[in-house]
Symmetry: C2
Subunit: 319 residues, 2 copies
């Protein structure tokens, strides 16, 4: 079963690793947000791509969900000795990824080709696809002014209220050929439990992406709610939804995905929102939506795929 | 006493650190070979500049003379995981230097300004000056074809016979303003015990450099022989001198410096070459020219400076 998954960082990477385990080798394509890519010391850093790649390669730091396991920070210490700000925790192994990526981008290779080569070298059988090869930058409006995404997310630890989101460069970005191919060939499209505003949002905002998702008409589109009991499982999605005028709930996320998603997995604690979500024209599967360990990832992945197949059968789609 | 020292890598850095200890803070300018600079994974690496900087900062690896003490190699291991060749031993601390330098060069800063800022951050009181801000690349002719310098020096461990040396780009390079100022203000100019072909040679070949050294007419020019008992203290200088038609001896080096150097320090084991060197118009000081420890560096530096003062006095120069 060919599956395309839309993902941001840690939460998306977890479900992606479950999907990879559940599917035949090579059947998974993960379309990853790159709107939080940024440059530091001239290095091109792609936090979400790397989190997905490290997770699928089985080398992600299990404590944090991002970064490489057993990481050391000697480079960062030396950068500190040179008087540099060291708020972004750049590990010694991680920096190798950024150095290679930056060098190859400088030689004119596409981010898509680079990630394909790096992922393959790390033994990843799935395709880790940047949403676009064009640069998009998430800029957040806050009471303290406009902040670049990593400034907000890492340096200021998401403490600012987000009043608006600009996706700089999005209008001149486009989905890559690989992304379009993954979507058109998909038998299911999974919206991973990533931040709907700054992870899944930018992917869908790439001009042509929403249409490409919709055009995969035989593929059921299933989302896994990143909000459980009104709270984000990780990160600032809950506060961000509220401050931007959405509702911080599974139903609030469902409303953002209405018209494009066919079904949604929500947590048992949110069962009370089932009717509200169904009234948006979505099917609902109530389950345990929290991934605590590898077993949870695989279980949730199986449930997600099973739910997609069920939607496919009941709607008479040819999947 | 304002001193300008010409230096390559390890041997030059050792004497430079002795000179720094012997002089008042800020009185030493080290003019460093950059013809073995190269690019690896898009990083601009300046081996000689870094060896001098790390040595003067007191953080050089005492075992190797190059690299940073207590270095780890996790980045390099990760580069290896990505399928990259890892023949150049890039340490995790060291890579921070290259990342910063490369990023700043990319933003249009000069190598001179970058090294000034990095050296200062590491507490170096001397000036670590690239011979030029223009790129020069040492290419060696060998029986196996043309090799870039680091390919020859590191990857192939200097096993190839060197039949010719090209300094690519040298004709369009020029000494920096900082180098010219250091030379014109010098009360002594020291040729460190570095390879006369591929370390001191490129510095002198920068158009205008030889003239600038000569123009510092009140400053005695003193060389410390890098050849002791016919052998290089470190590196391939001895074999390189022979294969290029020079003599691998203190006298052989003296002939290369004839006309520009006023005096030379040679090792006791080479005392037999004194007459030959003096016949080239140079003064000779016979001493223990091998630097085994910090004490040796300071002793040799004091002897070098004393010898320069003596030459200055006896020649009636106004130093």
């Amino acid at each position: 079963m060919k599956v395309a998954a839309l993902a941001g960082g840690v939460g998306g990477a977890k479900l992606a690793s479950g999907l990879e385990a559940a599917l035949a080798d090579g059947d998974l394509s993960v379309i990853v947000n790159t709107a939080d890519d940024f440059e530091l010391w001239g290095l091109h850093i792609s936090p979400d791509l790397d989190t997905v790649m490290y997770t699928l390669a089985g080398i992600a730091n299990p404590e944090t969900g991002w970064g490489v396991e057993g990481e050391t920070f000697d480079s960062l210490g030396m950068l500190g000795n040179y008087g540099e700000d060291t708020w972004f925790l750049l590990g010694d192994k991680d920096i190798a990824t950024h150095v290679l990526r930056t060098g190859r981008l400088g030689r004119g290779e596409s981010l898509t080709d680079i990630m394909a080569s790096l992922s393959k070298a790390l033994g990843v059988s799935s395709r880790v696809l940047p949403m676009s090869d064009e640069r998009v930058a998430t800029i957040l409006d806050t009471p303290d002014g406009r902040l670049e995404f990593q400034e907000y997310f890492v340096r200021r630890r998401q403490r600012d209220e987000v009043l608006g989101v600009e996706l700089r460069g999005i209008e001149s970005s486009s989905p890559t050929g690989e992304v379009l191919e993954a979507l058109s060939g998909a038998e299911a499209i999974i919206f991973c439990p990533s931040n709907p505003v700054v992870s899944i949002g930018p992917i869908l905002e790439v001009p042509g992406m929403r249409e490409a998702v919709a055009a995969a008409s035989s593929a059921p589109k299933v989302a896994v709610s990143p909000i459980v009991g009104g709270k984000a499982l990780k990160g600032p999605a809950d506060r961000m939804l509220s401050s931007l005028g959405h509702e911080s709930s599974a139903a609030g996320v469902a409303r953002m995905y209405a018209g494009i998603v066919d079904g949604m997995l929500i947590d048992r604690s949110d069962e009370g929102e089932r009717d509200e979500i169904e009234s948006l024209g979505m099917r609902v599967l109530v389950t345990d939506a929290v991934m605590r360990d590898d077993g949870d990832r695989e279980r949730l992945a199986h449930e997600t795929l099973g739910f997609a197949e069920e939607i496919s059968r009941s709607s008479g789609r040819v999947a």
